[in-house]
Assembly symmetry: C2
Homo-oligomer: 389 residues x 2
């Protein structure tokens, strides 16, 4: 971004519903729970009329039954001076909303921005229909070929495993770790400890990916409030130290390196540079483990591991909860859940709680900096945000 940094930007509130397989609430009731919850979460209180921009993040109206949601949110909270709209960037809708909010605030285009993400994927009658909706995040070529995201990430995984000598058991470690982390998260969809054997015995969905390599279909909503005057609303805001967004070729077939997620590399480069931080200074990470392979590759894109060596961080438990660089302490998309529009916003909620020391059993000790990575489709877009106390 070219703009002069005029304002520092901080999170002053965060709320997430529990992520669930089949919520009893309607989509808009999930959204409303998050919106009401985030307003109440602000330490010194905030009035709806102080919110001057509303961004709603959401993948598809086939997962909500509702569009034109920003004016609805404004009406609920009596944000009489607000403008805004919905943002969609496939599974990075939440990250894209946060990225825009940060930029509106630092340039003075808004003073207090509400970002709310939601999805009720169980609105579709079954997984088959839900996956048909998800497939629309592919390129026209991929859609016409009948590709699903299972198959696209399987291409990526096969390429990675063959090239770098990682094994399916290495991928399984991501699932094992994130399920274990989710046991400590009361908001997580899954409370189920699993073993490498469980993953290896689960049926192939698209080889080498098995059922337990995949994040689930989820219902849920999350919201944060960002401010260019954060100290007004809380003594302990969580600051955005830097943010990046980048694109890659959206078609997996069109990439020079099929086993890379280049957008995440570029976005994290931008974010860390603008935060003036080295990745080794980051205390914890929430990253987009839609499939186990994605988390492994993201290690490398962020610079936590050399190219082709990401899986070694799992073998050595470096990214486990008690390791040196905890990744997805929340349980990640894999076990916390992946209600798409909410996902990126939920990552920011986790950063808010971790950096305020409010993460309970899953608190990363002495966390001072955190990083989130949220990507869309098979990596055609990525948003990275660096948070500090």
């Amino acid at each position: 971004m070219l703009g002069v940094r005029l304002h520092s930007v901080g999170l002053v509130g965060a709320y997430s519903t529990k992520y669930e397989t089949r919520s009893k609430k309607k989509s808009w009731e999930l959204l409303r729970e998050a919106v009401d919850g985030v307003l109440k979460s602000v330490d010194n209180g905030i009035d709806g009329k102080d919110i001057d921009f509303i961004i709603v993040s959401n993948f598809s109206d086939r997962f909500t039954g509702l569009v034109h949601t920003a004016p609805l949110v404004a009406s609920w909270i009596r944000a009489r001076n607000a403008r805004g709209f919905r943002i969609e960037s496939a599974c990075a809708a939440g990250g894209a909303g946060l990225y825009l909010a940060y930029n509106l605030l630092r340039t003075g285009l808004a003073r207090n921005v509400l970002v709310a993400g939601y999805e009720k994927m169980s609105m579709q009658p079954s997984g088959a229909e839900a996956n048909e909706v998800l497939a629309t995040a592919g390129t026209p070529d991929e859609i016409l070929a009948g590709a699903t995201f299972f198959s696209l990430y399987a291409l990526i995984a096969r390429n990675y495993l063959e090239r770098y000598g990682a094994t399916e058991e290495d991928l399984a470690l991501v699932a094992v770790k994130n399920h274990e982390n989710a046991l400590r998260n009361p908001l997580a969809q899954y409370k189920k400890k699993i073993t490498i054997e469980d993953v290896m015995k689960s049926p192939y969905v698209a080889p080498p990916l098995k059922l337990y390599d995949c994040s689930p279909l989820s219902d849920g909503a999350a919201a944060v409030i960002l401010s260019s005057n954060p100290k007004k609303y809380t003594d302990t805001p969580v600051y955005i130290a830097g943010a990046g967004m980048a694109f890659d070729e959206p078609g997996v077939y069109a990439r020079g390196d099929m086993a890379a997620l280049k957008a995440a590399k570029e976005a994290s480069g931008q974010a860390l540079k603008s935060a003036n931080l080295d990745v080794n200074k980051i205390d914890f990470f929430e990253v987009h483990d839609c499939f186990t392979i994605a988390e492994v590759i993201i290690y490398e894109m962020l610079g936590l591991a050399k190219r082709g060596e990401g899986y070694k961080l799992l073998r050595d438990q470096v990214t486990f909860f008690h390791g040196e660089k905890p990744v997805n302490p929340s349980g990640g998309l894999k076990a916390k859940g992946h209600p798409i529009g909410a996902t990126g916003v939920g990552m920011a909620c986790e950063a808010y709680w971790q950096l305020r020391g409010e993460a309970g059993e899953r608190q990363v000790k002495d966390a001072e900096t955190g990083l989130m990575e949220n990507h869309g489709g098979s990596g055609g877009s990525s948003v990275v945000i660096v948070f500090t106390r």
Copy 2:
């Protein structure tokens, strides 16, 4: 907006597909025609790598079969440095995209922004299904009550007619005028001159609204390029002199005045104030005539007529093509067509052509200033933009 105006912002290219009832192209082929077309339309040429932000405007993936479109557009035009996302604000998706582009540019967050809107409403098997999709722009209460946009605008129309003594024939004049204007527009969906009698004889859809009071289901795409350094790309850019965006209660039932479109009043107030222009100085208008009643009320919201007297501008032919204040010289949503995501972007295209003297048979003589108004749902959000030569 609070930001200091750092840069002036101008349109440097515009392209629109023909709007059609049933396009032979797939949704993404429509989008691609607009994207390729707008790049070629730039007088001095522009390279994809100069586009650093891409905004795609679109109502529903049920009208496109596609999400995550910004990285796809970036790939088509090789915009290697671009970021972006899709914006949805119901029928104001295009306007919202333009509003954001303008603000990104004037604050230096981007240098050249591509805004592309598209919709292929004929993807739905029939009007019944299409209207089911459109109904999701209502509030949850309206959706649960089974309200359609025909019924919501009928409430507005009945309230207006009963209160102010306007007649159904007055509403018919909007349709007659806009169909006549569309005869001069090679891009328009309808090339059919109609009379007041034709409108009055058309069947009631939701009284007092008849079939010919309604805009059609349409397929189409439109795109513009905006720059903070417009003179680099053309000697005759069209400047954005001001822009406004506002919300109203999204539920018609919840409004103090059911026959007002208050968001449009607030948005036009903001836009005209920031442009430092009186509405009487504006030479032509493109406004959101999704139903004939909307155009009549918009006259009043913009300040072209006193409250309750908008219909008199039609009786006196003030807003006809040869009148003093031409409204919808393009044919408007009513006759040019309403491919939702494209609609607001298409209004900006029309402003570009009119202010460069390139509008052919429908050229408004000596046009120096123009205004577009694009609203979402039944008026829950509105965007107004003022253009100058």
